[in-house]
Symmetry: D2
Subunit: 504 residues, 4 copies
């Protein structure tokens, strides 16, 4: 199912770039940032912003923000304006609140006693309410409801307010991290440096890549001496579109400094004794692009393993396995491989369906989501079908699809869902429908198959999901931080077990 139908939404994507070598750089930083954002567009389509710095003393910052997709928000004149940047950070946003105004766009830029900083944030501070109160009690007015402004003001007011030549931003970032445990992947730009920060629980992803000359891109062994710049991104899928190579993930709790001289791990802020990391498991299930790499494994591979596991947990006696295109395809292929059933396409997607202005209360409105899909009748008429979906959130999308298939001649339609039912809200950056809207919390869930019109419905178990995710994680080896392997995932929306105790 597409995001817009399911009601689940990622809040944000962040991206940064620092040109290596002499400045002014020949590297087209603003364009690298734009393309990087485009590759993160699935994490937020509402607005986008870029801030660049020339890195001088004092630095000149240039920013542009706009509503809508990156291609709309950044017309050529915006790129022209940003073209003197030697480094920059950017952000794409999906609003979870009603306020979808331009002023909530990130990155957030402020002048502080120690100069201008810019902040881009993916995540949601679990203790935002208390922190807002604290900041306001200090006499600060907050002009937006965004956590990004809150983070910026927290960085600004952290004592001591000494007026030094070299403000200790790292101390301030560390202080911030003690004030709020999760969830954030953060880029802080100051003059000529980007600090890339991931919360101690590692709830949101953040990866580093290395720009190499295009001519060297296809020669696997290109050494660091070729580096044209460094990039940092919510997901590694953005690296390919800008000609960068995957370097490594930022670790939970780590503060990494990225400058034109390279990447340096400054500190790792620890979790409370005994706490495991809590990387959001839904990044694997749903949000991330299939070609992204987390914890050493490709997201596509994890989804395929979920499909295999689903075939073990919930087999069916049918003639063919199919997918709700496109996001469930890896799981469907995994299910087919494990079960030995043939993989067959039953639906094709109309790529031009978008906003059309259909009046309510018409026969066309009743057709619902089916308008988005073409039915490949001849592939399944007279056959029994198991349809794999990646998740069923509200149940209102799968139901008309099942009707379509039956009408076109499917004799049985079984649904297998490659993740467990969502039952709980997320307070760490994911937009989930209210508890009441979630199909798994409704009375109808007892007869979910009858409710959506399927012959049977089964979900992957939480244990099955966790094992499918964790079995492929490789240990982490890095020059800065040595070997590293600590595995743990947040399954709060499935189990109600939040990584830290929530205060209200």
């Amino acid at each position: 199912m597409e995001f817009e139908e399911s009601g689940i939404g990622e809040e944000c994507g962040v991206f940064g770039c620092v040109a290596a070598g002499e400045w002014p750089t020949q590297l087209e930083v603003a364009q690298v940032l734009t393309l990087g954002l485009v590759a993160l567009q699935h994490r937020g389509q509402e607005s986008a912003g870029i801030v660049t710095s020339n890195g001088a003393s004092p630095p000149t910052y240039t920013s542009h923000k706009g509503m809508g997709l990156v291609s709309t928000a950044f017309p050529p004149e915006a790129l022209l304006k940003l073209r003197y940047g030697n480094l920059g950070i950017c952000h794409t946003r999906y609003s979870t609140t009603g306020f979808s105004e331009l002023q909530n766009c990130q990155p957030f830029v402020v002048d502080t006693l120690h100069g201008r900083i810019a902040v881009a944030h993916n995540g949601e501070l679990v203790n935002a309410r208390a922190l807002r109160k604290k900041v306001m009690r200090h006499g600060v007015g907050l002009s937006t409801s965004s956590d990004s402004e809150l983070i910026t003001q927290l960085l600004a007011l952290t004592p001591p307010m000494e007026e030094l030549d070299t403000p200790d931003w790292v101390a301030r970032i560390k202080n911030l991290m003690t004030e709020t445990p999760t969830s954030y992947s953060l880029l802080v730009m100051f003059k000529d440096v980007i600090y890339a920060v991931r919360d101690p629980y590692g709830n949101r992803p953040l990866s580093i890549g290395r720009l190499v000359p295009i001519s060297r891109l296809h020669s696997p062994g290109a050494g660091e001496e070729d580096t044209e710049g460094w990039v940092v991104s919510s997901e590694s899928c953005s690296f390919q579109s800008i000609g960068a190579k995957y370097y490594r993930e930022v670790l939970p709790g780590e503060i990494v400094q990225i400058s034109r001289f390279g990447v340096k791990s400054l500190s790792i802020v620890p979790r409370p004794e005994g706490d495991l990391p809590a990387f959001c498991i839904f990044e694997y299930v749903y949000f991330a692009r299939p070609d992204s790499i987390f914890e050493g494994q490709m997201v596509y591979t994890v989804r395929q393993r979920c499909g295999r596991q689903l075939a073990i947990e919930a087999p069916t006696d049918v003639d063919l396995v199919s997918t709700v295109p496109e996001s469930a395809t890896p799981a469907a292929l995994g299910y087919a491989q494990q079960s030995g059933l043939p993989y067959t396409e039953v639906l094709c997607k109309n790529r031009y369906v978008g906003r059309t202005f259909i009046q309510p209360n018409t026969r066309l409105r009743q057709l619902g989501v089916a308008k988005k899909f073409g039915v490949l009748t001849d592939n399944f008429a007279g056959k029994r079908v198991v349809l794999i979906d990646d998740s069923i959130v509200r149940g209102n999308t799968i139901s008309p699809i099942i009707k379509l298939l039956r009408e076109a001649g499917a004799t049985e339609v079984h649904i297998r869902v490659a993740s467990p039912p969502i039952r709980f809200p997320c307070y760490m950056g994911i937009n989930i429908p209210t508890k009441e809207e979630l199909i798994a919390n409704k009375p109808e869930f007892k007869d979910i198959a009858g409710y959506i019109g399927a012959d049977s419905v089964e979900y992957l178990t939480v244990e099955g999901l966790v094992s499918a995710v964790q079995e492929g994680i490789s240990s982490f080896q890095n020059e800065n931080v040595g070997s590293h392997k600590e595995v743990g995932h947040c399954t709060a929306c499935l189990t109600g077990k939040y990584p830290i105790e929530l205060e209200w």
Copy 2:
């Protein structure tokens, strides 16, 4: 490969709707037309137009045209304006000429001595040049370069110019058909009737559907007594999105009258003795949506058969079969089934890549088409891959993809193309690059594998394609026209054999 990359383009799609029963109708005709157009959007993205009639004497026609996708061209106020239509025709257009102005948009509406008519046209008149001269010699000025205006003026000036109460439009249409043999699928709206016309060679497709109540949509046996209206469309794929059922194709040479009383075959204009039909074979290979039905068979199925045939004609010794998403997927699955090799995805598409404003001469420009695809490295690293494409027109798209796969670890990359090489221009409505631009006409074609960087390249043969297309055609049975089966396809772009002799 996507249309925009290959340089091949369909010119148009046409769609019409007549509400059944009493008028003013309750059926939201303008919205049916809009959604019908959206489903034909792959046939033209440059502009769109709708004309509706209230069907009264004299009729009131309302029209709206706009540039861009249907969703852009038809804002809510346009639909409001069109809302009193009881019938209507519409058109979506991809310009093959440099003139992409609004005035070339169809449908074309003119006032004639016998009242106002509206015309929508898919195709290209092979003898347009001579016909333009003829019309102008009669003293008519032509305000556009479009064949649609030419057709309209031909209909208007056909003698006798009697000023009757009931002009004989059918005689005029027949006369037009004697003047020009191909290629056109045509909708002519006059007052309360739509004439649906297909040229004697049946070069362009045209299908009829029946709107049924949504509540009856899912009960297969809904009889004609339930009919809410009739629709006619370039492709049957549009029927599902508006809640219509496939009824039948318009036959080559047939003139069908569609009114609120139903569908009536008025005449079948014959081809010259001995000539076969010449339905464009590239509708199967490339243009049509996979869920459309032509000649009794689903396009997807034909593509799958092409893949199977390709596996027979051009086998490979590799580890896996894959596709260039999304259009080559049916052929790839067919190849996999026939060959027994596992079907594996190696690329994922970034659905948000669109226009971004990348300056020329930058490192990013060099990345080329690769920005559109994510590489699913772990699925094929260390393996030998055969990649199925549906056609290779200019060769500039497949080449960077092969580089991407090699860089990511593919040990061999073989290309198999599920259609023969294009070598000749089309004069019947398809936009094909110039002969010089076609890779098959370049000297490099002798070593095409070396040129694009593949380990091997093979194409489907013309014979293979024709047999894959024709083996599934079922005979045509219809109440109006009886049983009917005559099989023939235009392969001019592959073979240079045009269905009629071209005059210059």
Copy 3:
């Protein structure tokens, strides 16, 4: 009163330019056309179009049309597209019909047997209905309701339809002029020539200007050897903004050929014996810009004379004379000069008032037109005012202004109107409210002062207007056509006497 309030509207303005000397020209023809149109914007704000020709054999025509003001309709890329023109014609339009679609935009371009022509038209054919029938009977379909298309098709079908190398366009234009007596000022562009045509009654204006080098612009005696190009325009006011000097008017019935070699009078088609010219008197009263020159006199001067005549015909015993800015100011100054009363401003205009989205049925809606004017209270509080207006059409604008002045302390408000009441429709190109809407035809007109709340209201007489207009006309002297003086004006909207008998 502003046009939009009064309900009176000019339909169109036409403008053309031919570069002199060698081609390709250095003259920026497209920009001259654009600026020329801007200066005619008061004649039509709905849409605008430009067509240029490179003048070669065969010529390349380029056109651009757009909705709205010239500045909106012609973005930089449109000018770029048009930049290779060596000559061109353009048009700005105010729609009198409901159809305000782009396809009705002029200039109209058609391909004929003898090549492509472009036509721009100001006026309205009095016998359009009969001519449309005639054209359609010939078998021509008409795609718009515009007279411009009709004129173009009439030019195309005029016999004999010989296929000559040098079609005789002048004969065709003459033939057109025998088919329709009025009203039109017409520009016909063919290849490398513009034909400027004015109907035999001279109902609509048309003037010729000469482009000189900017450096010579300020030296009065610049000879023809300096000519950079020739322009032709509905009004001479456009000449100054493009650096052109006034040359002469096109005479009633005259066909003038404008080429890169200069201006040549080809023919003067006569009126029926005894008929006088019928130049629209409202061009002087209302439509034209005050700095335009007609019949040898400046429009401003005529308006001032109307004010003087009004002071003689309808004196008042008041303290000061004022104006409804800005159009009535010349008449008000004339009234002040003649009467000896001081000229004093009582209203200032808010230049930013435009479309704002005020809901109906609110207190703000009741404020009406007053929102457009600021009241200069201190200039008239406690005084008796005579307010000069140029015309009162519906009476709904002046009434709230009178209220404003009284509220601000005027002890008496007398209205004097510098033109006679409009009582009849115009069929020659001017949009006038229906007879029923005209205040002069309503019962309330008997007590017009009471109806609009004034202490007294008086209008200029028809005789007074005609003498004020005609007393300053100078005889016309031109190298091509010799001396020329024949004076006559159309006063049909005031008197019901139309220049030719109307057929229905």
Copy 4:
């Protein structure tokens, strides 16, 4: 001269409205705000913003901001969004800095410990730099360069930071006023109240009006019992367009509370002993609309007096007096009255000239500002002209006008300027070209007449201007604050004498 040509610009206009009586009000507050802003559009055309409050506990604030003119920035859906406001403030802005981004738009809204406040500001804080430092030293980050944000944060952090139910905003405003002496006219909205504040020097204007029923608008004696609401505005010219009556000015240093219960003077913060008020004299000369009232006198009247004084100080021996329309017209009429010379129009303005896309380096570019004006040749050919302008800032506008007049036949052209030369920068809210760009500081100024091509040039003296301004000021009488008359004006841009010592 128009603002855009001269390079002088006002920075802002502010406007507020509170509905009287029961809430929810029937008064369309959002529309009153919009129309009020339109009437202040001459004070800023770059962006506009509105914030409304429903006045409840806690209040709901709604805001909308947009770039461009009010009519562009506030489409119907924006007004719909704002429609539940019972009170609101708004702002229109002309950027003096390069940053013209939406985020700098006012009003500025922030959440503080005591709730949400909104601030709109006209002016410029003379000690902004020091105050920014102070705020940042407190640990606050500033996200814009606007004084409005600075003011808002100063209001938020003023000690004591008690968390009370009824925060003492008036004490905070007073504290702000002790921190910064000038220049500001300020609207602060908190929940159900607007505080209208003017700095102790009264540098920027601020007036209060009373909304009465439209039916009572024209009866002068409407009592307070009819009040529908209260408005506050930078200029009183906005009152008429919304159906409000002028009530009084806010006094220098005064804090006025406007609630649904009426208007209440809370406090008057004094100036340092001996300092006079310093109302910007250029509001009279240039910025304000002529129908606005300051210090009891109409701006138009002051300008007329300047013209009279100029005729005394700098007489000419010519045939007629004229104006550069439209802003210099009152002064020209005053000059004519004093000198006895006839007032005659020599130029008319093309109201449609706006942005057109003229390429540089073309002959059209050389025509310059002359494109904006039509020349009324017959009114002055062969005569000597004195042309009155309101100010000459850079000299590049008047020069081509003089050329136009000479070319059209003026035998002499004398220039008289109704204000003294500008020589110094303004630090209190007015955008003035740099010292180097000011014509009065250039070497050419010695022969200014020769430089701009005039026969003579003379300016009004500073003494003449001051006396023309001050002679008409009436004493101020108000129920809240009693009688009041203290006269003083800022002439810093003319004399270099700033009202307070500037610290850098």
